[in-house]
Structure formats: structure tokens, C-alpha cells
Amino acid sequence: MKKLMTGNEAIARGAYEAGVLYASAYPGTPSTEILENIALYKECIVAEWAPNEKVAMEAVIGASIAGARSIASMKHVGLNVAADPVFTFSYTGVGGGSVIVTADEPGQHSSQNEQDSRNYAKAAKIPMLEPTDAQESKDMTKIAFMVSEEYDTPVFIRMTTRVCHSKGIVSCDGREDRAIIPYIKNAKKYVTVPTHARKLREKVATREKKLLDFSNATDLNFIEWGNKEIGVISSGVCYSYAKEIFGDKVSYLKLGFTYPLPTEKISEFCSNVEKIYVIEENDPYIEEKVKELGFRCYGKNTFPEYGEMLPEVIRQSVFGELLPTVLYEEKEVVPRPPTLCAGCPHRGVFYELGKRKNIFISGDIGCYTLGFAEPYNAMDQNVCMGSAMGVGHGAQKVFDMVNDNKMKVVSVLGDSTFFHTGLNGLIDVFYNKSNTVNIILDNRITGMTGHQENPSSGYTLQGEKTFEIDIENVVKALGFKQVVVIDPNNLESVKKALDWALSLDEPSVIITRWPCVLKKLSPEDKNEFGELFSAKCFVDSEKCIGCKKCLKTGCPAISFDKKNKKSVIDSVPCVGCEVCKQVCPVHAIGKVE
């Protein structure tokens, strides 16, 4: 059977065909759909959202030790979170085969940095495969499980955004049923006290030599001979871009197994071609090996050091020009930045925060990061998942060292981010006594990645009802005395809560509780919040004085009619949250029932 699939769907299909029994992940673009698609095989695979990537990794290690084929998937920065167990999992090796998928983001479409996961393979001494398209994503997933079991090691698959989200035709096969390997206690393998771990280190060194032989022998690394004047070495999606530009005339060394790199194959290729181009995304990982082996090549001295190596980038770098195209004045086109949706429950909070002076707003990763932008300008920093409260704590400690300090920290993160790693930061705030205001924007779902359940949503990935962790109780159990829960669409209560919290001499927590406007409501949501908004807001143009205050809410449903100098609300996107209505000084905004 042939199907059009994205790389992410193909990884899921590969996991299914390989007989995987357990899968865990934390959502993150561009990797999210891997687990979502594995979850579709619910009759035979247990698939779960973990609170963060480290826990997902740990659960996958447990499943492997207990004898099942298991898979973890994450975005590149998620691998930083999971790195601790990953490095030692390399030493223990596996029970059932185990695969770790990491999705890099050259060009940073939805990420705070660019990092090359191939460095993790080298650092953790874990073999790595790099698919080019959807078919390879499926095939390599199955091969990765074989390598994992044969060499007693977890195996990385490095995806990139374009491989994750590009579709190609994939031939599908049936599922290989694999029985659970019966568990036998083996402390020397799995208890990593130094006496054992030193032996395991030796095992890893031996394994590396065998894997190098495999890398030189496997068809995953292959040569296509064309003319020998030009030789292109490439991996991942870059191979398909290079083929687009150089066609079939030149020679290619295509690397699908990139840790350890096949030194003999690289030497054979490089010895037979005159001019060598190394085309890869992110770091000069292959290039450094080529140079180490004593060959001169054109790599980062020819191609950009960062960003995607798209076909036009290769063409420009090699031939110094682009294809002829239609030219136009780019300045005529207005940017279209992402915005908080009409009816987004974060709007009220950032509207009120943006008006305050002498506060340092410590942000985090989620839709609410958009609070940094116009018209709110309500964020001073964000660095990584779960960081708001920890960074806020450190900043407050230093602000307090200044005489007559007026700066107060307000840290802001979402419900899923709080459970990801935000909780630890809040513990630091309490334990080390910083007087910060900590806001948890509880919108009842993991929003930005497309609505995944999380520990406080009350449901599992498979939509089963489960225990719901109550954020207010968690915070109070940590010891916080100053805790309020508010409706973020009510500006008066947001304002009051901020006034109150900023006046305190001890840390406080404000929990805003209102569902994401795009969320499919659960019966519990309907019970708690009613049917939400059913009416739309409108501007009474007789009353409107054109003061543009409503535009300061940054709602995409509101625009300003320059001709008539009045605000207008588009009834299609408007959900009637009434934030604009509360802001209007002349009560010109009404509601149609």
C-alpha cells in the first residue's frame, strides 16, 4: 500500500511496523505529530504525553529495560532537557530496542535557537540516522530498531523541520509482532554505580568500533558516481536540495548513518573527486571529519554558517546567482506576524501588564510569548521551557541589591510549561525567598503546539479521563500563602490581583483560569465555564470617539477605519470576550445577544 505521508507520519508508521509497544513525548514543533500519529495505532501501542522530554525519555528507558521496543520523540531543545538520562542510557544499552527521535530546526521556524543534534550523538556515543524524506523516515526507523538491538544501544534519528513536515509517497508494510523480551534482573548492566559504569564505558568503546565498521559497510551511506570533477557530500534534506541544483551529472556521497561517520567511505569518495562540496544544515559536522581525514573541501567557507541550505541558497553559494524571477518591491508588503487570537485568555493579562512601570516581566515558551510584541510590549526575557520563574528569581535578587530598588519581577508561564519544568523554578522562589509575582496562565490545554492534553487538563493523549492535577493545590502545597485564582477576561480582577501581588513583601502566585479560545471543550470545561461566549461585540459608531484605546488590546478582530476615524469589530473572528468593551472610555462597544 502506498500513501502520501509527512516525515513525522512516516516515523510513526515505521514505529508501528517495527512492533513498538511503548511511545512517549512532550509536544514541540516540528516533532509533535510523531507521537500524535503513533497514538492512532492505539490497539497495539501505548502512547503517552509526558510532562517533559526528560520524563518521556525515562519512561522509554523503563519500557526498554522491561523488554519492549520503545520510542521517544522531541524537538532539538527537548533533547537538552532529556540529555541527562540519554547519556547514561548509552552506557546501559537496551532491553527491547529503543529509538530517540530529535527534530532540529535549521532556520528557526518555531524555535529559540538552532542546534545540531549530531553533536549529541558524538558526545553521548549513540549511533545516529538522518533521513532525507518520508520513505527514508519510515525505513530508517525500522533499521534503527535493528541496530539498537544488535549493538545494545539506543539509536538517534535526526529529523529537521522540512523532513518532519514534507510529504512524499511511502510504501507501507505490515506490523512485525515482537514479543516482550522476558525481564531478567541484571544489576551490572542497569545499576550504574561507578564499578559497573566503568565496565560499561569499556563496552561503549568496543561498541563504537563495531558501529564504525557498520557505518562503512551499510547502504545507508552510499556513493552515486557521476563525473568526478565535482563530488557532493550531504545528509538529510540537503541531499534532495543538492540534487535539485547539481542534477545527476556530479558524484554524490549521501550519508544516512551519520554517527559514527563512515571514514573509509568518505576517504574513498574524496580520493576520487576533484572538487568537494559538503552541504549540511547547522554545524560543519561532516566537514570537520572530511578535513580531519586530510581532504580539502568547500563547506562553511562557501555556504552560510546557519539557516536552511535551501535550493536557492546552494545555487547562490555555488554559482553566485539566483534563478531569474519576478521582481517586486518588498517594502510594499506589510508583515503578518502571529498574534494572540480573538478571545485569547492571555490578552487581559498582557494588556494590564503592559501598562505597568518598574516591572521586569520574565516570560516563557508558549503562545503567551507573543505578549512581548506590540501593542503590549509586556515581556523582558524568555529563554527556554519552564524558565520564567527561575530567571525571574535571579533577576529579583540582583534588583534588590540596588539601593531604593523599585524593580519588581513578574514571572509568567502557561499550565503545561509549569508542569514541564516551571515547577522547579517556583520551588527556588519559595526556598530562596525572592519577592516575585508568579503568574500561571492556565488555559486548560497545551496551546501553541496544537492542543495536547497535559497533567492539569484531566485527559490523556488517548482522550481517556484521568487524574487532574490542580495547580492551586500544588502551589499551596509548596507553601505559598499568597495565591489567587482569577478570570483573565475580567480586567478589573486582573488589575486588582496585580496591585495586590505587587504590594506584598513575600512571593505570590496568580493563577488565571480560562480555556484557550480554540480548545474543544470537555464536559468538565462546559460545566465550569458554561458555553463560553455566544454573543459578538460591536462598535456603536455614534458613540465611538476614535481614541483607539480598544486597539491597545491587540485583538485581530478590531481595526481602525481611517476614513471615518472609528474602530470597527469584525463579527467573524470576534467571540465576544469583552476585553475591548472594558477598555472603551465612552462605552461605545456593545454586545449583540
Binding site: L4, V237, E244, E312, L323, T339, L370, G554
Partner: protein, 189 residues
């Protein structure tokens, strides 16, 4: 010879469904097909694009700047934004529909007033009122299938059994109106 179709628009306009139907049809017709989309924060009202490429064997899933045979824009300003992807003899099909972005909504910038003229002066351009036509059919949402019909006609892909593709991929209740929408789109170019 590989052909490249670039579909652009604003998050939520249905470009993804249109490109899904298109690629399924191309696969059924025996072509090799690759398609690439950028997700992520774009679903919050940002600019979106789907690259569709088909032929005997397709390498890159991404269209090169200057490599698109046709640019199909679900929104007018987005057609301008992606114009440099078009081949010099490429064709533009654009929905006569404007969605104002945040800098325009807040009065900091103006929507390009002469988008139609710019497009027409740069390439062979067809401007069509897909929303109006969709409303005539009774459902604004079939706008994307009207635009799909336009692509099919413009690329000479009428031979493919699109009705079967619609039946396979859509809710059965919506098949009939979408068949009409497809035909409408084909008649508009």
C-alpha cells in the same frame, strides 16, 4: 519535467486541505509527489505556504525562488509576498480577498492599495472572487476547493478523477457541494 505549485495564504484559510486533495490526486495519477508546509506559530494568523511538486521523480520538497510554475494565493497581499518564487513566465491565480495583518489593523501600516495592478504588471494574473462564488454555492468554506479547481484547470490536470479524490477525502455530506465548487473554480480561469 517537475512542476511546482505554490499555495499561499493566511493560517486558517484552508490551504492545507486544498494541497492535500491536490497531492492525493497527483499521486493517484501516477506522479511522484512531494509537498512541504511550514506550521508552528503560523496558525496564529500568520502567513502560510504549501509547496507542491510533481513529476516523474521529484527531489526537493521545497520550491526554489524563481521556480514556481504557478502561485495560487488565497489572500491578495500574500500573493505579493511570495511573488519572487514565480518563474518569469509563471502564472498567478489570486483570490480577491484581503485579510488585514496586525500592523494594518492597528493603523501603523496600510494594506497595499494597488495589489491588483502590481500583480498584473508582473505576471499573467487571474483575480477571482472565490469567497463570493462559495457564498453563491451556499458555504463560504468551499472557497479552497474553488481555488483548487482553478489550479487544476491552470495546470492542465483535468484528466485526473478529482470527483473520486473528493469522495475519498471529504465528509460524504460535503462531497456534492465541493464537486460544484471544483467545477466553478475550473470555469473561472
Amino acid at each position: 519535467m517537475t512542476k511546482s505549485i505554490l499555495l499561499v495564504g493566511v493560517g486558517g484559510q484552508g490551504t492545507i486541505l486544498a494541497s492535500k486533495l491536490l497531492t492525493n490526486g497527483l499521486m493517484e495519477a501516477g506522479y511522484d509527489v512531494k509537498m512541504s508546509e511550514i506550521h508552528g506559530m503560523s496558525q496564529r494568523g500568520g502567513s502560510v505556504s504549501s509547496h507542491v511538486r510533481y513529476g516523474k521523480k521529484v527531489d526537493s520538497p521545497v520550491i526554489e525562488i524563481g521556480g514556481a510554475d504557478i502561485l495560487v494565493s488565497f489572500e491578495k497581499m500574500e500573493a505579493l509576498r511570495y511573488l519572487n518564487y514565480l518563474k518569469t513566465d509563471g502564472r498567478v491565480v489570486v483570490n480577491d480577498y484581503e485579510i488585514l495583518s496586525m500592523p494594518i489593523l492597528s493603523g501603523k501600516a496600510d494594506y497595499p492599495g494597488n495589489a491588483d495592478e502590481i500583480l498584473k504588471s508582473k505576471a499573467q494574473t487571474t483575480i477571482l472572487d472565490a469567497i463570493g462564488e462559495a457564498e453563491k454555492l451556499g458555504n463560504q468554506k468551499v472557497m479552497n476547493v474553488i481555488l483548487l479547481g482553478a489550479i487544476i484547470k491552470a495546470m492542465g490536470l483535468e484528466e485526473i478523477d478529482w470527483v473520486a479524490i473528493l469522495r475519498e477525502n471529504l465528509n460524504q455530506k460535503l462531497v456534492d457541494i465541493n464537486i460544484e465548487a471544483l467545477q466553478t473554480g475550473m470555469n473561472l480561469v
